[in-house]
């Protein structure tokens, strides 16, 4: 039975991956990636990583992909003609090298002498992959990684806010925009978006 589920999940993952890459509309790409992530969660379950599967669905699919959908809706992103600014050669070359990389990795995996790979894995104990166990490890053996990850999340949040800030939301933009302070005057007739990076146009393009 496990094999059946494995193949279903694997096919789902691969289909999702191919869809992400091949679909023209970025919206569809995001949805395809969602499908891929869900299949991956299934694979995690098959590997007895229960907590991780749940985290994958809740965090990755539920938060990150939803954020993606919002941004894609805002930015739009038209049809992406496959005409590469480089050359068609680039497409074939990249396919070739990606394929070559896959072949190498497969050889590495399948030809390995490590015995554990040829089986289902070493023995597992009760509580393997449960939230309790993961939580215990996070707070004892991997405390540093845990704390570092939380700081990273804080920084990323602050950074994202600053990056995507709108000028209209500030009472006195001049205070903050240093680049603008260096360039006195002629700000009122500014068409916006022509000055330094910290001066955003007022919202979406109006003209």
């Amino acid at each position: 039975m496990a094999e059946v589920f494995f193949f279903l999940a694997a096919i789902g993952a691969l289909a999702g991956a191919i869809g992400t890459v091949a679909l023209r509309n970025p919206f569809y790409s995001v949805l395809s990636l969602v499908c891929h992530l869900l299949s991956l969660a299934a694979l995690f379950l098959l590997l007895r990583a229960e907590f991780l599967a749940a985290a994958q669905v809740i965090v990755y699919v539920g938060a990150v992909m939803v954020l993606y959908l919002f941004v894609v809706a805002y930015v739009g992103g038209g049809e992406d003609p496959i005409r590469a600014a480089g050359s068609p050669g680039l497409r074939w070359a990249s396919a070739l090298f990606a394929g070559a990389l896959f072949v190498e990795l497969s050889i590495a995996v399948l030809g390995t002498g490590l015995t554990a790979f040829g089986e289902e894995g070493s023995g597992w104990f009760a509580g393997y992959g449960t939230p309790g166990e993961i939580g215990r490890l996070l707070l004892t053996d991997f405390l540093l990684a845990f704390e570092a990850a939380s700081i990273l999340l804080l920084i990323a949040a602050v950074g994202a806010v600053i990056l995507a800030r709108r000028r209209a939301g500030l009472e006195h933009p001049r205070e903050i925009s240093v680049a603008e302070m260096l360039r006195r005057g002629s700000r009122d007739e500014m068409t916006g978006g022509e000055a330094g990076t910290m001066i955003e146009a007022g919202g979406p393009p109006q003209r």
Partner: protein, 670 residues
């Protein structure tokens, strides 16, 4: 003091003089510099006299002394030392050079008095005397070449003394370039000799002359190259074209450098190198033939030129032809004797000419001169004495010296007899052109300048001009000064000219044939290794015939000149009209200038243009420089293309790199 000390002092006084004058040019009053310069050379002359006495005190065998000051380099078989060779020949030359130089310095004290460059003049003159003494006293080839080059530089500096005159600077460059050709010949000749003898020192090299077989190719080549050097310095055909142009320098310069001393350096060189020339008679014969040719060519041109100083210049060229012919035919003492007497009367002639030119306010053309006999008696007297000596009238000095050369040359027998006979023809021509000059300048009706001078008033030209081209000049530094000084009014000029006149009259006493043999005996230790010095002697009959013919030719030359330029004044014009082609040929100086221009100057100029337009532009800039720069530019352009800014290219490079690494590890692990 010892001989060696005297020898070094002879050199050091002029050197000290020039340095002192140069360093105090603005500190001391200018008149003092003239006296300083003269004093320095006079002291040098005294030391030369002292050296002479010291030398004669020694025994006959010990009269060749080498004194070394410093071992400059002694590696790879080259022994270059600062050494002097003090022997009769060098002391003789030092006496002549320093003696004549003292008198010319004295003359210049008044002659150049109004020139703004007075101090510079004396500094240069002292430097020249130092270089010339270095040349004659040098004890090895190295020092000789150094002196040779210094003398060339001094000549250039002094010819272009009035440096704002373009004719003067052009003449200076011409002289220098031809001298450099001679320098190259000298150095190459030295190389040929040094290669075999293994030493740069004169005495050691002379001992090594036996390494060469008689007339061996290497030695003949070396001697011919030395002849190139000698001929360039002594203005012999074909390297003679610079000497007439060198008359652009002030008259004392012409007197000192281009009559008495520098141009005799070639004669000294051949005399000094006599062991090599005797071992390679082919080269010596070439030298004798060219010397004879020069004396005839120069004498013929002297018959037609109209510039006073240039007549005397061609006369110098001709007389040095005699000297060269003499030393190349192994008549060493005779040639050097003529060198000494020639120094006296030629310097005297130049000084007198300078006085006449001053009376003419800078005009040098014989066509405009005349009748200065009553206005300038002293100058006239000196000119007559010099002219008689030059023409070879007994008992003046030139008579004995010139005839000794000719009789010794004829005594060589075989084909040298022809050279001797041609030499006699040349002496007839010498008398004619010398007295042509004197009669035209001093006889007949006085010109305006002479008239004014008779009334005690020195002529002043309305404006100062270049005597050759007529361009107007000012009298600031770089051009001649405003005043002119004649001998009758300046005591220093009178003293100098009087002393030279005495020498011109009485110097012949040293070598009266069959009576006195002073110079020949004195110089004998220097030529002890010559196979001709003692043996070559004319028979009694030849000697008397030679003296008689010489005197006869001189007197008939003077008579002919008197007839043509005093009595029958229209004859020269008629002769010229009849022989117009010949006259034209002579006036164009036998077309030597045009020949050298076509054969040497134009090919070199073409080569220079070729080097600039083709070689420099195409090869050097295009290939040698352009090649690597082009390659570097292309390479960097290729590398620059990688920095395209395309994100996907970078990602592709990453992927390719990872794949490659993986492949490597796969292979390494298997």
């Amino acid at each position: 003091m010892s001989l060696q000390t005297y020898g070094w002092l002879v050199l050091l006084f002029p050197l000290g003089g020039t340095v002192l004058i140069a360093l105090t040019w603005s500190v001391l009053p200018w008149k003092l510099h003239g006296y300083l310069g003269t004093l320095a050379i006079f002291l040098s002359f005294l030391c030369a006299v002292g050296a002479l006495f010291e030398l004669q005190d020694r025994g006959e065998e010990e009269r060749q002394v080498v004194t070394v000051a410093w071992d400059y380099a002694n590696t790879v078989g080259v022994d270059a030392q600062l050494s002097l060779l003090l022997d009769p020949l060098s002391v003789f030359m030092a006496l002549v050079v320093s003696g004549i130089s003292t008198l010319i310095h004295l003359y210049s004290v008044s002659y150049m008095a109004s020139d703004r460059g007075y101090t510079r003049f004396f500094a240069y003159l002292n430097y020249f005397v130092f270089s010339m003494l270095l040349l004659v006293l040098a004890g090895n080839f190295f020092f000789l070449i150094v002196g040779w080059a210094f003398v060339g530089a001094a000549s250039y500096l002094l010819i272009s003394f009035w440096y704002r005159r373009t004719t003067a600077t052009a003449a200076g460059i011409k002289a220098f370039v031809i001298n450099v050709v001679g320098d190259v010949g000298l150095v190459l000749g030295t190389y040929f000799i040094f290669k075999r003898t293994g030493s740069l020192d004169f005495l050691r090299a002379f001992e090594g002359v036996q390494e060469f077989s008689r007339n061996e190719g290497d030695l003949v080549a070396g001697c011919l190259l030395l002849l190139v050097g000698a001929f360039a310095k002594s203005a012999q055909v074909p390297l003679h074209t610079w000497l007439p142009d060198a008359m652009e320098g002030p008259t004392p310069v012409s007197a000192l450098i281009h009559a008495a001393t520098m141009v005799t350096a070639g004669v000294y060189l051949i005399a000094r190198m006599h062991p090599f020339f005797e071992q390679a008679p082919a080269a010596a014969d070439v030298g004798a033939i060219l010397g004879c040719a020069t004396l005839l060519i120069a004498a013929s041109i002297g018959l037609v030129v109209t510039d006073l100083k240039r007549v005397i210049a061609y006369s110098t060229m001709s007389q040095i032809g005699y000297m060269v012919m003499g030393v190349c035919s192994a008549a060493y003492a005779a040639g050097l004797f003529h060198l000494m007497t020639h120094a006296f009367f030629k310097a005297l002639l130049f000084m007198a000419a300078g006085s006449v030119i001053a009376a003419m306010a800078g005009e040098q053309n014989l066509d405009r001169m005349g009748g200065f006999r009553r206005a300038m008696p002293f100058t006239f007297g000196c000119m007559v004495i010099g002219g008689l000596a030059l023409a070879g009238v007994p008992p003046f000095a030139g008579f004995f010296s010139k005839d000794e050369i000719l009789s010794l040359v004829i005594a060589r027998e075989d084909w040298h007899v022809v050279l001797g006979v041609l030499g006699f023809v040349g002496s007839l021509l010498t008398a004619i052109y010398t007295w042509r000059m004197i009669f035209r300048a001093f006889f007949n009706e006085p010109v305006e300048q002479a008239h004014e001078l008779e009334h005690g008033h020195l002529y002043h030209a309305p404006e100062h001009t270049n005597p050759a081209t007529g361009e107007v000049e000012d009298t600031d530094v770089g051009f001649p000064g405003p005043d002119h000084h004649i001998a009758e009014r300046e005591w220093s000029m009178k003293v100098a000219m009087a002393l030279l006149a005495v020498g011109a009259v009485f110097a012949g006493v040293l070598q009266i044939p069959k009576v006195t043999d002073v110079l020949h005996t004195f110089l004998e230790p220097s030529f002890h290794d010559s196979r001709y010095y003692e043996s070559l002697e004319p028979s009694d009959g030849l000697t008397w015939i030679g003296l008689a013919v010489g005197a006869l030719l001189a007197l008939s030359g003077i008579a002919l000149a008197y007839r043509l330029w005093v009595q029958d004044r229209a004859r020269p014009g008629a002769i010229r009209a009849r022989l117009a082609a010949v006259h034209g040929f002579l006036v164009r100086k036998w077309y030597f200038d045009e020949l050298i221009d076509a054969v040497v100057v134009r090919p070199f100029a073409w080569f220079g243009r070729f080097a600039r337009d083709v070689f420099e532009r195409v090869v050097v800039n295009g290939i040698v420089v352009g090649g690597p720069t082009g390659a570097v530019r292309a390479g960097s352009a290729a590398v620059r293309a990688v920095q395209s800014g395309f994100l996907r290219y970078y990602a592709a490079l990453l992927l390719v790199g990872v794949t490659g690494l993986g492949l490597y590890f796969l292979i390494a692990a298997s």
